[in-house]
């Protein structure tokens, strides 16, 4: 008995330390200043502009990610081909890319002097320092979260369901819409929540590629950074809103993930 006595308590100590360290900043955001101050700071038109811009850009980015990412994830989940693993790795690359690198890369690719910059200019599009550029940066960093989740969800759909659909007269497209997507929906939504959470918090790539102009490219995280020195209460208020959004998204991802796993197990 004496030999093992220190082990279990030390696990508890480690967890307690981790929990304290990881939650303290979140708690501090809400207790550092009074709730009245927080709400008052939200009245600032600049703060509201930033939140509104964040909402619009993240929704557009997530919509693009879902529309393009869903069929791409389905292909990755249901087909094997030469270079499959390489394609999966490339799609996941933005997950580990430093955001600043992502921003520089986007500039080099899509900026005025970038390798595809000319084509974009010819098409009459302007991305750098524009709201559209924010959407591009958000899509770039957040897409892998959704594609990974959707690919795993499609991969977990019983192959015989898809085959049964085919033998019952449904073509590939109908099988995709009527069987694969509904069956994979919980996992896809979990991936979507994570992607959205990543997009809402995006900072580095957006700053480098789109800049930080109020009302045009200054999303909530950029607004927090700008107010740090001048209006700490406003920074705290914005942070509190983002914490609430992030918490809600994480919770829904967890719940959907649990439901998806439970459904798959039945």
């Amino acid at each position: 008995m004496t030999r093992g006595r220190w082990f279990a308590p030390s696990l508890v100590v480690a967890l307690a330390a981790a929990l304290t360290f990881l939650t303290l900043p979140v708690v501090a955001i809400f207790v550092r200043t009074s709730p009245a101050n927080l709400l008052g700071a939200l009245d600032d038109p600049g703060v509201l502009d930033a939140l509104w811009l964040s909402l619009r850009t993240t929704l557009i980015a997530v919509a693009i990610i879902v529309v393009v990412g869903t069929p791409a994830a389905y292909l990755l989940a249901t087909r094997t081909f030469r270079g499959h693993a390489l394609v999966v790795t490339l799609v996941e690359l933005p997950l580990v890319l430093p955001p600043a690198v992502a921003g520089v890369g986007l500039l080099a690719a899509l900026g005025p002097g970038g390798i595809a910059g000319g084509a974009i200019e010819d098409a009459g599009l302007r991305l750098v320092f524009e709201t559209a550029g924010v959407v591009v940066a958000l899509t770039f960093v957040a897409a892998p979260f959704f594609i990974r989740g959707a690919q795993a969800a499609f991969g977990a759909v019983d192959r015989s369901w898809l085959e049964a659909s085919r033998t019952l007269g449904a073509g590939e497209a109908r099988t995709f819409l009527r069987v694969a997507i509904p069956a994979a929906a919980p996992g896809m939504l979990a991936g979507l929540a994570l992607a959205w959470g990543r997009a809402v918090g995006e900072f580095g790539a957006t700053l480098i590629f789109a800049g930080s102009f109020r009302g045009r490219t200054q999303t909530a995280p950029l607004a927090i950074y700008e107010r740090l020195g001048t209006d700490f209460d406003a920074a705290l208020a914005l942070s509190a809103v983002l914490v609430a959004i992030a918490g809600a998204l994480l919770l829904s991802a967890k719940l959907l993930g649990v439901r998806g796993v439970a459904r798959a197990a039945r």
Binding site: D158, S160, W161, E163, A164, S165, R166, T167, L168, G169, A170, G171, R178, V179, P182, A183, A185, R263, R266
Partner: protein
């Protein structure tokens, strides 16, 4: 008429098989797992493409690797019952059944689905989710779903293997009825020879990717082409009506259909199937009611004598056909040849009963 010819290799496994199923008849494709049964079924449905092969249904060519013709699975109208039934978990039972009904209003699709469910005695389950159903109910839903679009061919992959022993007997009887009624070619895959014998008009035994013998179940059991088939065909099955035996032993006496009685130590009543392994049956000169302990004696006439490896299969004509497996020496001693009359003998303790 469904015709399937396929040659394909999957790693070390090579499939080279051809089969034909006439309309209104069921061919049971029986063999051990990994023999290539399901692969043939998937090729017939178009879920898999063999390296070389040809699949035709009536005058329609579904697959011809020589000409490059390949019809997509959704255009073949195959009713396919999957091994685990593959019911769509996100749809109600009636929606599963109605899935293959196209170009109809929702109300009409629901009406037709319910009609089919009623035929299988599960109309009350229309709004349930598949996960709440028992194995037997799922099997019926899968069958109803496969039949709903009026398929031109019925393909069944181990349709009874997911059921427990009690459900299996009734599901098997019901399935036999469905197969009789549909009037389309049916190809059924099973690893169980008894199931193949009950459900198939003919049985093709497949082993290591090759069809090793095809015939009626009786033919295969009586004259197996190899020791593998002899082992695989397993028990002789007789049917009859069970009643309690006399005395305090609580044995069961079965009045066999067509005449004769047999005794079993299993309990049973009403219509039963009685099974005994060919190697449990010994042969004696006609009329002998031996001194031994065996309780069962049936007079029979030798039909064929087939040597299989180091043993001999003797097919016997009795009110119901029997097969005995004996040694070559015994054949000589009894002068066994077609037409010779013998008495088949086996123990009550080697006799299994299954309620029908």
């Amino acid at each position: 008429m469904l015709r399937v010819e396929a040659r394909t290799t999957l790693g070390a496994f090579a499939l080279d098989a051809a089969l034909e199923v006439p309309a209104g008849s069921c061919l049971a494709l029986a063999g051990p797992s990994g023999a290539g049964k399901s692969t043939l079924l998937r090729i017939a449905a178009g879920l898999m493409r063999p390296q070389r092969g040809r699949v035709t249904c009536g005058d329609d060519v579904w697959l011809d690797t020589a000409t490059g013709r390949q019809v997509a699975p959704e255009l073949r109208a195959c009713g396919y019952v999957f091994q685990d039934y593959a019911l769509f978990g996100h749809m109600a039972v009636w929606q599963n059944v109605a899935y293959g009904l196209r170009g109809l209003a929702r109300a009409e699709r629901r009406r037709r689905a319910e009609e089919l469910l009623a035929r299988f005695g599960i109309a009350q389950l229309a709004d349930e989710r598949p996960r709440t159903l028992s194995g037997g109910e799922r099997q019926r839903v899968a069958l109803a779903r496969a039949l709903a679009p009026k398929p031109r061919v019925l393909l069944l992959d181990e349709p009874l293997s997911a059921l427990d022993a009690r459900t299996r007997a009734s599901a098997s009887r019901e399935l036999a009825g469905v197969l009789r009624d549909t009037g389309v070619p049916a190809l059924l895959v099973t690893h169980d020879f008894t199931e193949a014998a009950v459900l198939g008009d003919r049985v093709a035994v497949i082993d290591a990717g090759q069809i090793v013998q095809e015939g009626t179940a009786g033919e295969l059991a009586a004259a197996p082409g190899s020791s593998f088939i002899a082992d695989f065909t397993g028990a002789v099955v007789l049917t009859g009506v069970a009643r309690p035996g006399p005395g305090a032993d609580e044995v069961t006496v079965v009045d066999l259909d067509g005449g004769g009685v047999a005794t079993s130590t299993d309990r049973g009543s009403g219509a039963v199937a009685l099974s005994v392994h060919p190697w449990e049956i010994s042969l004696e000169p006609a009329g002998a009611r031996g001194e031994g302990s065996a309780q069962n004696h049936l007079d029979a006439e030798v039909v064929t004598v087939t040597r299989v490896a180091n043993r001999v299969r003797v097919a016997l004509a009795a009110p119901q056909p029997l097969v005995a497996e004996i040694t070559g020496a015994a054949v000589g001693e009894l002068h066994l040849a077609p037409g010779v009359r013998v008495t088949a003998t086996w123990k009550a303790t080697a006799t299994r009963l299954v309620s029908l």
